[in-house]
């Protein structure tokens, strides 16, 4: 991707002592990612990070679905900040892009309308007896990895290179809308040409692919996906992106937003089942990775340890390209060695359960 104004959009990212706020979607659909993130930051890079069992959902999904009112979410956010302060931290890092957006938005609202902050502090105090102390620094966890990308590169065992051709892997990066589209100055590289994922990819040997619909939303859209009747609209957005990127033959998609990773992955399955279309090479889908998984692979983690068997689109083609050794037999064995169940065959992974599409291709 061509660099534009990346230098102009820089933000301060704390170097150490992070208070970790988990993501609802990520811990449910990509549980290995959060675990890997904590492990990489704490054990590989030697940073202090605190995963607080007391903290809750930010209620952002509810907020964006018009279920949770502003005052409520402000109180919830105030509680997260209070917990962070109680734990002795002042650098908040959130795993979820929507949470990051919520924190930024609310801090900004408090700044613009101080009475709202006061009200939130009062509510918090009345409800929980806690005191609101705002964080010094709010960053997304992808910002942290971006910040530490060079350090990761030093420990890298498997760069983003196609071991068969020696060429850099072609990576499509997708930035969650709430990362920088709400507050461009709060994202690395701004909203038009965000650099947060591109920086990681470049540092780890891959090649970023720019394509026309790069900025487009994955289609999550909260209400749109939550209501079954509206889901076709959500899928259409992902489809638009996939159609736009397919000619560039990307090796994988990497997202910094848990929702995006989920939808770009699962809607590929849906589209394939409904229409028989796949967008990757060789009649299969394009693997979708979280940046934690990408960092984990680069650092030599076992893909099944990273939870990559949870993906809808099989990641094996990518692992083969990267030269990652993996044991197919253990793919569906949990950490305790117990069988966790195997998904049904899917068109997106090159299977034609009903033979319908293979008939079509005749």
């Amino acid at each position: 991707m061509r660099r534009g104004n990346w230098e102009e959009y820089q933000k301060s990212i704390a170097d150490d002592n992070y208070y970790y706020a988990r993501s609802c979607i990520r811990q449910n659909f990509f549980p290995g990612s959060e675990k890997a993130f904590l492990d990489i930051v704490a054990n590989r890079l030697g940073r202090n990070i605190y995963d607080d069992p007391l903290h809750s959902s930010c209620t952002g999904i509810g907020y964006h679905s018009d279920i949770v009112p502003l005052d409520t979410i402000m109180a919830v956010v105030a509680r997260q900040f209070a917990l962070m302060n109680e734990a002795g931290y002042e650098n908040l890092v959130s795993s979820c892009i929507t949470s990051f957006g919520i924190y930024t938005e609310i801090l900004s609202t408090w700044e613009e309308f101080p009475e709202t902050e006061q009200r939130a502090a009062e509510t918090l105090y009345k409800a929980t007896g806690r005191t609101l102390v705002k964080p010094k620094n709010v960053a997304h966890t992808s910002d942290v990895i971006f910040h530490l990308r060079k350090q990761i590169a030093e420990q890298m065992t498997r760069p983003l290179i196609n071991v068969r051709t020696g060429e850099p892997l072609r990576v499509v990066e997708h930035i969650g809308c709430h990362y920088a589209k709400i507050f461009p100055k709060k994202g690395i590289g701004g909203s038009e040409f965000p650099y947060v994922l591109a920086g990681m990819i470049e540092s780890w040997g891959g090649e970023v692919v720019d394509y026309p619909e790069r900025r487009h939303c994955c289609g999550f859209g909260f209400r749109n996906y939550l209501v079954q009747a509206n889901r076709g609209y959500s899928v259409a957005n992902s489809q638009k992106k996939l159609e736009s990127m397919a000619p560039y033959r990307p090796d994988f998609i990497v997202c910094n937003c848990p929702g995006c990773a989920m939808f770009l992955d699962k809607w590929q399955y849906t589209i394939a089942e409904m229409e028989g279309t796949t967008y990757g090479q060789g009649g299969v889908g394009i693997p979708v990775l979280t940046y934690e998984e990408m960092a984990g692979l680069v650092l030599g983690y076992d893909p099944w340890q990273l939870g990559m068997q949870m993906h809808q689109v099989d990641v094996e083609p990518l692992l083969d390209k990267m030269g990652v050794e993996y044991d197919p037999a253990t793919k569906y064995l949990g950490v305790n060695g117990k069988y966790i169940g195997k998904p049904e065959q899917a068109v997106v992974n090159g299977d034609c359960p009903s033979g319908f599409y293979s008939m079509l291709s005749l």
Partner: protein
């Protein structure tokens, strides 16, 4: 009366002011920041709506200024102005009987609208780039290919709160029509699309030119602002807009995207204003004392305004203002204000 009339800026506004003053028997001094007279018009190719070469306006003015012995100083950056003197960045103080601000305006930096990818994608150009290319005699895509489809986007850096430019730059609509025709003449097989918010064809002959562009040159006009530009594999650009007349989003790939950059107030207007006491309007341009009777007077006595220093204007309007200002200066020098 001590000193001469000091004219800040040696573009067409400054030159015509000096010439008009000269005709009234008043001596003036032109202070020009660059190394040559002519200002922005020097880089322009043809002028709307008559396709008159810009040189046909600039060159005679420069010649007249030289011939009439009007004193001109180059490389002068003005840092402070009041109605009696002008201070340069060298610290030099120049006494003035009156000061005329003719320092014009600044072309909007298209890079700020980064969603259009100017400076990022090879085939995104500004209107000024096109004029330059026309002057150089070679208009083409970045790799030298002949464009087959060109999009021209109006209002880049005008009427846009997002970049703090609320005003209309006035001349871009007609410039876009003019450039569309020029491009169509250069590339008869190319499709030229103009994306506009409103067509503001305010001047004599403008609407007629617009009509000719549509009917004779088959230039397409789409009402809708391009929202983003993205690269395509072959270095072409994909643009998105809404065709607001059909209420449908519209997407197309183009070989060249031309951004009609607007005029914005000079950055140094702010400190010229604070040093002189001449007030600025909300949009950062100098405020005329009265929009009807005193267009060429600033709010501060002894400081006059000519050209785009006070708002976006056409060349013709600027030249008219220069003559008008000369008369008002003569009155001022004679009777005070």
């Amino acid at each position: 009366m001590k000193g001469r009339v000091v004219i800040v800026g040696g573009g067409v506004a400054g030159m015509q002011t000096a010439l008009s003053l000269k005709a009234l028997g008043i001596e003036s001094l032109i202070l020009e920041q660059s190394r040559q007279l002519g200002g922005k018009l020097t880089g322009w190719h043809l002028l709307f709506p008559t396709f008159t070469p810009a040189q046909d306006v600039v060159a005679p003015l420069i010649r007249a200024v030289r011939q009439s012995g009007i004193q001109t100083r180059f490389g002068c950056k003005v840092v402070s102005v009041d109605s009696r003197r002008v201070i340069l960045d060298s610290g030099e103080r120049i006494d003035a009987a009156a000061v005329v601000l003719c320092s014009g305006s600044t072309l909007f930096n298209a890079k700020i609208k980064e969603e259009y990818g100017y400076g990022i994608y090879d085939n995104v150009f500004t209107s000024a780039d096109i004029e330059q290319m026309m002057n150089n005699g070679k208009v083409a895509m970045a790799d030298g290919r002949t464009p087959e489809r060109i999009a021209i986007l109006h209002c880049v850096g005008s009427r846009d709160e997002k970049v703090c430019q609320r005003h209309c730059s006035k001349v871009c609509c007609i410039t876009a029509v003019k450039q569309a025709i020029e491009l169509k003449k250069l590339f008869p097989d190319a499709d030229v699309f103009n994306f506009y918010m409103d067509m503001r064809m305010f001047g004599p002959g403008y609407e007629e030119l617009y009509r000719r562009a549509q009917i004779e040159h088959n230039i397409h006009f789409v009402r809708g602002r391009i929202s983003e530009a993205s690269p395509l594999m072959d270095s072409r650009v994909q643009i998105k807009a809404e065709d607001t007349l059909t209420g449908r989003p519209l997407r197309m790939s183009v070989d060249m995207l031309v951004l009609m950059v607007g005029m914005r107030a000079n950055d140094d207007n702010a400190f010229i204003s604070s040093s002189s006491g001449a007030e600025l309007a909300e949009n950062g341009f100098f405020k005329p004392r009265n929009s009807f009777m005193d267009n060429v007077l600033s709010t501060k006595e002894g400081i006059f305004l000519v050209g785009t220093i006070s708002s976006p204007k056409t060349v013709g309007q600027t030249l008219n203002e220069a003559s008008a200002a000369a008369i008002r200066i003569a009155e001022y020098l004679r009777y005070g204000n």
